[in-house]
Symmetry: C2
Subunit: 103 residues, 2 copies
């Protein structure tokens, strides 16, 4: 199993509509990726590790797939549609990472 993490860095002039993200964007992604997408987790950043510190990421989505190939096959045909929707909830360029799930 692999995890695709889409992480939105918090910045002073960064905007992020968590309501749209949870209620419209992620359901759209789920619909487009279909059964290849095994699980989605959404995190809303509250704080950093030190007292008073801001979180590094205002939002993170962690999506699990059986393999990198499964993710690429499911995402490729819809990449443009999904990326175009970002302008509807944020002006932040997300950081994307693919990980192997160890636990």
């Amino acid at each position: 199993m692999i995890k695709v993490s889409v992480m939105y860095p918090k910045s002073l002039d960064g905007t992020f509509d968590m309501n749209y993200y949870c209620k419209t964007h992620i359901p759209l992604v789920g619909e487009l990726l279909g059964g290849a997408l095994k699980n989605v987790a959404i995190d809303s950043g509250i704080a950093g590790g030190a007292p008073g510190e801001e979180p590094a990421f205002i939002a993170m989505a962690h999506m699990t797939f059986d393999s990198v190939e499964n993710f690429q096959e499911a995402f490729g045909p819809h990449a443009e549609t999904i990326m175009a929707d970002l302008a509807n909830f944020t002006n932040i360029q997300p950081q994307i990472q693919i990980s192997e799930i160890k636990l």
Copy 2:
């Protein structure tokens, strides 16, 4: 529910023993935090979002707790022991973030 993400940035001179992390460090954390720790996920970074790009984080642990207070009560008394174990598997200073779990 809240999530504490401990993220180890990948760097050229950064070292990370994933075997020790999964088999010794995370079980130690689980034992010390006890029932307050509801779930742990461990990710091992494979790649970034662009072809040939490195992952931002070589490893991430995502730990869920009922509340920030529950995390602080469980972690506080063992913080020193847990942080001292880091030298056994990495020379990287982790980035820590607390998030509200939206999904």
